[in-house]
């Protein structure tokens, strides 16, 4: 077993909204080993991006607030760290790439300038050395004719190329953790596959651990070793990727997998119809006491609506927060 690099313990994040306090993240526990890829899945609004921003120390405060918990990077609690220390961490030890490559790069600076900026900031490289580093990174992320393109501006590049630039920027200082927040959602399908290959390839070469945030089970299947499924700011299930795909326990996880056509186990046998999960994520200001998924769950009963199910391990590295499995295992 590899050493644990990043550990999130009992994290809780709240937002003040017009309709009251929204608990966007509640009782969140995840850990990330060196060199592994952890997938975080869920619909939009389930708190996965907020998890990423919490780790980066970029939750907008106010209206946001860290209500409790710890985020340990090699044992150092990032929630206790000073802003100056967090600036050293960001882009250097933990990097992040975003969903929207089209708008995530500054339009008025050349891409080379933007990549070099990170290297100059964290490693104090000279202008020339930083330029050299930017060039190496562009080559590493597979940008053709990097010598010329290094002086181009974001608007001169396609979305896939811009996401490669974002990755180059994020990896310029060899961070230990890369958080990829829906890195391919805005891109064409063929480009998506290229980006996945690139990330996998870079992970193998540099040993950077990746937190892959997505709503797409297909992406998880391609990238992740372990998976965390989030719903309404809480973890409902976590397990190895194979277990999640072959033996999903939580009704929500099962629903997510049914949404993806090609993941069905045996195409020759009668296929279940493609399904969607009825309903939407409830407003986080009015969650009540029960399981947040209960209103959309076909198995929900009185207990589900009244009490929050605790997360229970059902196997090595497989935990589920659902009264249904709780009763099954107890029986």
């Amino acid at each position: 077993m590899a050493e644990t690099l990043l550990k999130v313990e009992d994290l809780a994040v709240e937002f003040d909204t017009r309709d009251g306090v929204a608990k966007v993240i509640d009782n969140l526990n995840i850990k990330l080993d060196a060199g592994e890829t952890l997938g975080i899945v869920g619909e939009s609004g389930c708190g996965k991006s907020m998890t990423a921003l919490s780790i980066m120390g970029l939750v907008p405060i106010p209206p946001g607030r860290i209500a409790g918990g710890r985020i340990l990077l090699d044992g150092e609690d990032l929630l206790e760290a000073s802003e100056a220390r967090m600036r050293q961490v960001r882009g250097n030890e933990i990097s992040m790439i975003f969903q929207e490559p089209m708008t995530s790069l500054n339009p008025v600076y050349s891409i080379g300038n933007q990549i070099a900026e990170t290297a100059r900031l964290h490693e104090g490289l000279s202008r020339a050395d930083a330029h050299q580093r930017a060039l190496e990174m562009l080559v590493a992320v597979g940008i053709p004719a990097a010598e010329q393109r290094i002086n181009e501006f974001p608007h001169q590049m396609s979305g896939g190329m811009r996401q490669r630039v974002m990755i180059a920027m994020a990896l310029a200082c060899q961070p230990r953790v890369l958080i990829a927040d829906e890195p391919t959602t805005a891109l064409d399908v063929t480009v998506q596959a290229q980006i996945f290959d690139l990330l996998n390839d870079l992970k193998d070469r540099t040993g950077t651990a990746i937190i892959m945030i997505t709503h797409d089970m297909g992406a998880i299947a391609e990238m992740a070793q372990r998976v965390v499924v989030m719903y309404a700011g809480r973890i409902v299930e976590q397990a190895d990727v194979d277990q999640i795909l072959t033996d999903p326990r939580h009704p929500y996880t099962q629903g997510l997998i049914r949404c993806v056509p090609h993941l069905t186990q045996n195409p020759t046998v009668e296929r279940p119809p493609l399904l969607e999960i009825p309903g939407v994520v409830p407003p986080l200001t009015h969650l009540g006491t029960g399981c947040p998924f209960a209103p959309r769950c076909q198995y929900a009963d009185a207990q589900c609506r009244a009490e929050m199910p605790p997360s229970k391990p059902i196997d090595d590295d497989h935990a589920v927060a659902c009264w249904l499995t709780e009763r099954e295992t107890a029986a």
Binding site: D16, T17, R18, D19, P60, P62, P63
Partner: protein, 301 residues
């Protein structure tokens, strides 16, 4: 407006907003306007000034040019509320009468501005192509000429009458309205209801004035309030420079007549200026209020 981006809670409770949306559109409009206290104050000042302009001659049966007392009396001296100017004219009476000219010329000039601007902007935005090209080149041409200087030249070349002043102001200030109207028309002409009107064979003129124009009105009405304010400022500047009818009292003229006594009798400059300032301010506050009233969702700023 990008100002609208805000994350803090509003002061109104969500219940209020729901309540407003089920009401009649006009009542909703009035309610939203009334919520903007500054805009209500602006409307109040505006009504007051228009009232003074309309009815003052009936109440105050005086000649603003008459020398009623010693020159340069301080405010309050000799029973003159705002004092007298360098020719011994009562400043209060002069300011009240000045409101007539300022309002009439400002209003007429704004009207001319809007007619030219709307016509050119609507045609450019609706017909596009070479019509747009030609009209936009003309617009750019007028943007190159310094507006006040051109107005000065027009008044000087032709005659210094109130009509010339109003026309000159209209001729130099329509470009902004034209650009705005063009943008609205370019946007609206692609909307479904315009296509629908075209598909049933409506004529261009009908589509422009009866189909698109009513939908383009909200931003244009807000702009009209500002246009009146700007026209008043132009009128004030021209009459301050002596480029207006010398036989008619106006605020700018009052300042121009007294400018040499600035250091000895600052009130002769200050009070007419306050009148101009308040009038234009009221127009821009009304403009803000109309913006709120037309876009209830953008209310938070």
């Amino acid at each position: 407006m990008s100002d609208a981006k805000n994350t803090t809670p509003s002061n109104g409770s969500p219940g209020d907003v729901d309540e407003i949306f089920v009401e009649h559109p006009f009542r909703q409009f009035v309610v939203m306007y009334m919520r903007n206290y500054a805009a209500v104050a602006g409307l109040f000042v505006f009504v007051l000034i228009v009232g003074a302009a309309l009815f003052a001659p009936l109440i105050l049966d005086l000649d603003p040019f008459e020398m009623v007392d010693a020159p340069l009396l301080r405010p309050g001296e000799g029973g003159h509320l705002l004092g007298t100017d360098n020719l011994g004219r009562d400043l209060f009476v002069a300011i009240i009468y000045g409101a007539r000219v300022t309002m009439a010329v400002g209003g007429a000039a704004a009207g001319i501005t809007l007619v030219i601007g709307l016509t050119i902007g609507a045609m450019a935005g609706y017909y596009r192509g070479w019509v747009d090209e030609v009209l936009m080149r003309i617009t750019e041409f007028f943007q190159v000429l310094p507006p006040l200087l051109l107005a000065m030249v027009l008044v000087a070349l032709f005659s210094p009458t109130l009509e010339t002043v109003a026309i000159a102001i209209g001729v130099v200030s329509w470009t902004g309205v034209a650009r705005l109207a063009r943008a609205e028309f370019l946007r609206l002409r692609e909307q479904e209801f315009v296509k629908a009107a075209r598909s049933i064979g409506a004529r261009d003129r009908r589509i422009i004035w009866l189909v698109i124009m009513p939908n383009a009105l909200p931003p244009l009405i807000v702009n009209a309030a500002l246009t009146v304010g700007i026209a008043i400022l132009f009128e004030a500047a021209l009459s301050f420079l002596g480029l207006s009818d010398p036989n008619v009292m106006s605020w700018g003229k009052l300042i121009g007549d007294n400018r040499d006594y600035l250091l000895d009798a600052p009130w002769t400059i200050t009070f007419p200026g306050v009148a101009i300032f308040l009038t234009v301010l009221s127009m821009s506050l009304i403009g803000d209020g109309l913006t709120d009233a037309f876009n209830p969702k953008l209310r938070e700023r």
